[in-house]
Amino acid sequence: MSEPVPPPYVPEEVAAREPEDRFRTWVAIGIAIVSILGAVVAFSGTLAGQTARQLDQSGIEDTSRQQQIITDLSGTVEEDLRNLAPYQEAIKAAGVLQSQAATLSASDPSAAAQLRNQAESYMVLARTRAQFFRGAFPAPGPSDGPVQYDPRAALQRLENQNEQLSELRPAATLAQADAKHAQGVNLVGLVTLFIAALLFLTLAQFTRPAIRRVFAGAGAFTATLAVVLWIAVLLTGSS
C-alpha cells in the first residue's frame, strides 16, 4: 500500500520571490533589447554621417564645376565686349560716313561718292565682326548712341542654355548633406535616450520592490519614445 505523496514543501519566502524573479527576468530581457536597439541606432547614425560626408564631397565638386562653367561663360561675354568696340566702330562709322556723304552730295559729288565707298567698306567690316559674337548679338541702338549689349542678360542667357550647368545643383546637394549630418546627430541623440532607458531599467533591476516598477515603467516609456523618435528621424531623413 502506498502512501499519498505530500505536496512539496515551499517556504513562504521562496513563494513570494517567484513573481519578483519573473519581473527581473523581464527587465533583463528589456535591458538586452534596449542595448541592442541602442547599438543599431548608433550604427545607423554612423552610416548617416558617412552619407553626409559623401554628399559634402559631391557638393564641393559640383560647386567647383559650376564656377568653372560660369567663368567660362563669363569669358565668352567678355570676348563679346572686346569685339563690341571694333564692331561698333565699323557700323557707326558706316552710318556717319553715309550722312557726311549726304551733306556733300550736292556741293562735291566726287567726295560724297568717296565717303559712300568708305561707308560700304565699313559695312563689310561690321558684317565680318558680327559673326564673332557668341554670347548675344548687339542691337544697333539709336543713330547717335552706342550699340546695345547687356552683358548681364547675355550671361544669364548663356547660363540658362547650358545643360551641364542646369544639371548641377551644388546648393541642393550641400543642403542634403546638411540634413544627413543633422540626421546623424539626431541618431546619436537617440542613443542617449536609449541609454537613459537602460539606466531606468537597471534601477528597476536593483531598487526596492516598492519603486522598481516605477523605474521599469519609466524605462519602458523612454525606450518606446526612443523607438518612436527613431522611426520619425528615419522617415524625415528619407523624405
Partner: protein, 764 residues
C-alpha cells in the same frame, strides 16, 4: 517525510558586496549615459566643424572664380578704353594732317580731313560709352598713377570679401574642432571611469573604494566640464566684418590716389572696424599692421620698406603680434615680425629683440629658404649681435638667392629690377644700423660691398678700386646726377654701381631708391644715356671729371620729393665715394605721356585740359583758374621740306604751336611776344639766369636733348611762358611750353614754371 531544504542565510559580507555591485551597476549606467550625452555634443561639434569646413571650401572655390572673372572683366574694360584712345589718336592724326603745309585751307582734302576728325570724335565718344573707364574718372590713367590698379582693385573687392568670409568659416571650423577635442577628452575621462567601476567589482574592499571614488570624480569632472562647454559655444561671425575687410584692402591698394594720409587712414578705419566686428580676425591685424607702418613711412612707393616713425613701428609690432597670437603663421607675417623686431632693436636700442627677430626669421626660412630678404634680415640680426662671420655667411647666401632663383642649379634670376629691390632692402637697414650703432660702420661697409659686388657683379671677386671723389650731387625734379673725379681706373670698362639714397625732411633715416640705383650701363657716344658714366666735357673740366645721371621719372614714373639725397658709388665692388645734397624742389607728381614720348612733373593740384587733349598729338595741364600750366605737342609728320635746317624747323613748329594753343593762355593774355632779356656786356640775359642768343633764343638750348632744339621765353599780358621744340630721331617734332603769372617769374633763382619745364624728359 523529507526534511525541509536548507535555506542559506547570506552573510553580512555577501550582502555588502551585493549592495556595492548594485551601486556600481547604476554608476556604470550613469557614466554610460554621460558618454552618450557627451558623444551627442561631440557629434554636434563635428557636424558644425564639417559644415564650416565645407562652407570655407565652397567660398574658396567661389573666390577663385570671382577673382578670375573680375580680372577678365577689368581687362576687357581696359581693352575697350585702349580702343577708344586709339580712335582719339585717329582723330588727332586727322587734325595733324589738316595742319600739314601741303593741305590747303578750304580744299576738298581739308574738308575731308575735317570730316574725318569729326567722325573719329563721334566714334571715340561712342566707344567711351562702352567702358567703365571714363577720361578723367577715378579709374582713368589721369587719376590713377598706377593704372589700371584702381580698376583691378575695385573689381577684386568681391573676391576679397569672399576671402574674409572663408577665413571666418575657417575660424569657426577651428573653434568647433577645438570644442570637439575637449569633448574627446571628456569622453576619455568617462571611459576610464567606466573601466574603474568594472575593475572595482573584482578587487578587495579598500582598493575598490578608492577606484570607485576616482571613477566618481572623473564622472563628476566630466559632467562639470561638459556643462561649462555648453555655455561656451563658438559664436557666429558677422558678415559685416568681411565687408569692412574688403573695403580696407581696396583702400590700402589705392591709398596713393588720395591726398596725404587720407587713403591710409581710410584703410586703417576699415580694418579697425573689421577687427571690432571680429576680434579674432588675424588677417585684418596683418593688413592693418602694413597700414600702421606706411602711415609713418616716407617709403610709400617702395617694394621693400624699412623706415617709419617710432610710434608707427610700435603700432605695427602690436598688430603683428596680435596676428601671431591668433595663430597666423604665414611667411609674410613671420618676415614682417622679424623685420619689425629688427627695426625696434636698431632704432630703439632694444638688443633683446635681435634674438626674437632671429627666431621669426628662422621660422620664415623654414617655410621658404630661397627668399633673399629673409637671408638679408638674418644677416643684419647676426651682425648687430656681433656675429660678423655668421652675418657674412648669411649675406653670401642672400646674395646667391638674389642672383639665382635656383641656387643649386645656378638658374639666373635675370631681373635686374627685382635684384635691385632686394639690394635696397638690404642696404637701407645697414645704413640705419650705422646711424644708431656707429661702432659697426666698418662691418656695415664690408657687408654693403659684399652685397653690391655680389649682386651687381654676379659674385665676381672685387677688382681695382682706383680713387674716386664725388664733387657734386645735383637734384632735379625728375633726375639725380653725380659728378666725380675718377683716377686709376677706366670708367668705360670698370663696373660702376650707383646706390642713390633719400632721406625725408623728418630725417627718419636714409633709404635706397631702387628704381634708379644699380650697375651703370655702357656709355653711348653722342647722346647722354641714363645711368652711364660719361666724361664731363665742360669748359672748366679736367680729363678725370665724370658724371652720371639717373631719371627717376623715366625709370620709375616718379618725381623727386623734397628732402636729402645721398649717393654711394661702388667701383669694381669697392665703395669708392659718397656724396649728399639737399633736394629743394617743391613736391611734384609724375605725369606720363607715352603717346607723346614725354613725361614731366607737375603740382598735384593741376588737372588735365581734356578739351586740348588728343592722344598722340597734344595734351595740357593747368591750375583750376588756368593761370599756370604746361602744354605738349608732337607733330608726327611735320612735312618739312627736304634740307631744312633742324633749328629752323623747330622754330617754325614753335610758332605754329603758339598759334594753335593761343586760346589756352589766360583771358586777356593777348599775343605773346619774345622776351629778349636785358643786354649786359653784349649778352642778352634773363633775370633768373639764362643767356640768350642774337635771336633771343636760349644759348645752347638743350630741350630734351633733341636735334635742333630751340628754347624761347615769351611775355604776354600778366605773365610769361617758356617754350621749347626739337626734332626726335624718327623725324617727329616735339614741343612743350610752361606758363605762369608774372609774379612767378620775378625770381633770382629758377622760377616755378621753369622748374616744371626742366622736369620734362624725352621717352622716345
Amino acid at each position: 517525510m523529507r526534511p525541509p531544504e536548507r535555506i542559506e542565510i547570506p552573510e553580512a559580507e555577501d550582502l555588502r558586496r551585493e549592495r556595492f555591485a548594485r551601486i556600481l551597476a547604476v554608476l556604470i549606467v550613469v557614466a554610460t549615459l554621460g558618454v552618450a550625452s557627451v558623444e551627442f555634443l561631440h557629434s554636434i561639434a563635428d557636424k558644425s566643424a564639417d559644415a564650416a569646413s565645407v562652407e570655407a571650401q565652397r567660398l574658396s572655390i567661389e573666390r577663385q572664380g570671382a577673382l578670375v572673372r573680375a580680372e577678365d572683366a577689368a581687362r576687357a574694360q581696359i581693352d575697350i578704353y585702349a580702343y577708344q584712345q586709339q580712335e582719339r589718336a585717329q582723330q588727332a592724326n586727322a587734325f595733324q594732317e589738316y595742319l600739314a603745309p601741303s593741305v590747303t585751307s578750304g580744299s576738298t582734302q581739308a574738308q575731308l580731313l575735317q570730316l574725318e576728325e569729326n567722325r573719329w570724335t563721334t566714334l571715340a565718344a561712342l566707344t567711351g560709352d562702352l567702358t567703365s573707364i571714363k577720361a578723367g574718372g577715378a579709374t582713368s590713367p589721369q587719376q590713377d598713377a598706377a593704372f589700371p590698379n584702381q580698376l583691378q582693385s575695385q573689381s577684386e573687392q568681391d573676391a576679397d570679401r569672399l576671402f574674409a568670409l572663408e577665413d571666418a568659416q575657417n575660424q569657426q571650423r577651428s573653434d568647433w574642432q577645438g570644442r570637439s577635442g575637449f569633448l574627446s577628452v571628456i569622453l576619455t575621462m568617462l571611459a576610464v571611469a567606466i573601466y574603474l567601476f568594472g575593475l572595482s567589482l573584482t578587487l578587495q574592499a579598500r582598493v575598490r573604494r578608492w577606484l570607485v571614488t576616482l571613477g566618481v570624480v572623473l564622472v563628476a569632472g566630466g559632467g562639470v566640464a561638459t556643462v561649462v562647454l555648453l555655455f561656451a559655444a563658438p559664436a557666429p561671425v558677422p558678415d559685416s566684418a568681411a565687408d569692412s575687410y574688403s573695403r580696407g584692402v581696396y583702400a590700402l591698394n589705392t591709398f596713393y590716389t588720395k591726398p596725404g594720409d587720407q587713403g591710409l587712414k581710410e584703410a586703417y578705419d576699415d580694418f579697425s572696424k573689421a577687427i571690432q566686428e571680429r576680434p579674432r580676425f588675424a588677417q585684418a591685424f596683418l593688413q592693418r599692421s602694413q597700414v600702421q607702418f606706411l602711415l609713418g613711412s616716407p617709403q610709400r612707393q617702395a617694394a621693400v620698406v624699412s623706415i617709419t616713425t617710432a610710434a608707427q613701428l610700435q603700432a605695427q609690432g602690436n598688430d603683428l603680434q596680435q596676428a601671431y597670437d591668433l595663430g597666423l603663421r604665414d611667411k609674410l607675417l613671420l618676415n614682417n615680425l622679424a623685420a619689425n623686431r629688427l627695426l625696434l632693436a636698431v632704432t630703439q636700442n632694444q638688443p633683446s629683440r635681435y634674438s626674437e627677430a632671429l627666431t621669426y626669421v628662422n621660422a620664415a626660412l623654414a617655410l621658404d629658404p630661397n627668399d633673399p630678404l629673409l637671408n638679408y634680415n638674418k644677416g643684419i640680426a647676426l651682425l648687430a649681435q656681433g656675429n660678423t662671420d655668421q652675418a657674412a655667411q648669411a649675406y653670401r647666401d642672400a646674395v646667391a638667392h638674389t642672383v639665382f632663383t635656383d641656387v643649386a642649379h645656378k638658374t639666373a634670376r635675370n631681373d635686374s629690377a627685382a635684384e635691385e629691390n632686394y639690394v635696397s632692402g638690404a642696404l637701407t637697414p645697414l645704413d640705419l644700423l650705422v646711424k644708431y650703432r656707429p661702432e659697426l660702420m666698418a662691418q656695415a661697409k664690408a657687408m654693403k660691398e659684399l652685397i653690391v659686388n655680389g649682386v651687381d657683379r654676379k659674385q665676381a671677386p672685387p677688382g681695382n678700386a682706383g680713387t674716386m671723389k664725388v664733387s657734386e650731387l645735383d637734384v632735379f625734379p625728375a633726375e639725380l646726377q653725380w659728378k666725380a673725379k675718377i683716377d686709376g681706373v677706366d670708367p668705360s670698362t670698370a663696373n660702376i654701381s650707383t646706390q642713390w639714397y633719400y632721406q625725408d625732411p623728418q630725417k627718419l633715416g636714409w633709404s635706397v631708391i631702387p628704381s634708379i640705383s644699380g650697375i651703370a650701363v655702357k656709355a653711348t657716344p653722342g647722346v647722354t644715356v641714363d645711368n652711364a658714366a660719361y666724361q664731363d666735357l665742360c669748359a672748366t673740366c679736367a680729363s678725370d671729371d665724370y658724371f652720371l645721371i639717373n631719371s627717376s621719372l623715366k625709370t620709375a614714373g616718379q618725381c623727386l620729393q623734397p628732402g636729402q639725397y645721398k649717393v654711394e658709388v661702388y667701383v669694381n665692388g669697392h665703395l669708392g665715394a659718397t656724396g649728399s645734397s639737399d633736394g629743394t624742389n617743391p613736391p611734384l607728381q609724375a605725369e606720363r605721356m607715352a603717346d607723346l614720348g614725354m613725361d614731366f612733373c607737375r603740382p598735384a593740384a593741376w588737372s588735365q585740359d581734356s578739351t586740348n587733349t588728343s592722344p598722340g598729338f597734344s595734351t595740357g595741364f593747368t591750375t583750376k583758374d588756368g593761370s599756370t600750366g604746361a602744354y605738349f605737342v608732337r607733330f608726327q609728320n611735320p612735312e618739312t621740306a627736304p634740307g631744312t635746317d633742324p633749328a629752323t624747323e623747330a622754330a617754325n613748329i614753335r610758332d605754329e604751336m603758339l598759334t594753335v594753343f593761343a586760346n589756352v593762355l589766360p583771358s586777356g593774355a593777348g599775343t605773346p611776344t619774345i622776351d629778349c632779356g636785358t643786354n649786359t656786356n653784349g649778352t642778352n640775359t634773363l633775370p633768373f639766369g639764362p643767356t640768350l642768343d642774337a635771336n633771343c633764343n636760349r644759348s645752347s638750348a638743350f630741350f630734351l636733348g633733341l636735334t635742333g632744339a630751340v628754347e624761347t621765353w615769351y611775355d604776354y599780358n600778366g605773365g610769361m611762358l617758356h617754350i621749347g621744340t626739337g626734332i626726335a630721331a624718327d623725324g617727329a617734332v616735339l614741343g612743350a611750353f610752361t606758363f605762369g603769372p608774372s609774379s612767378q617769374w620775378q625770381s633770382s633763382t629758377e622760377p616755378a614754371p621753369d622748374v616744371i619745364f626742366d622736369s620734362i624728359v624725352y621717352t622716345g
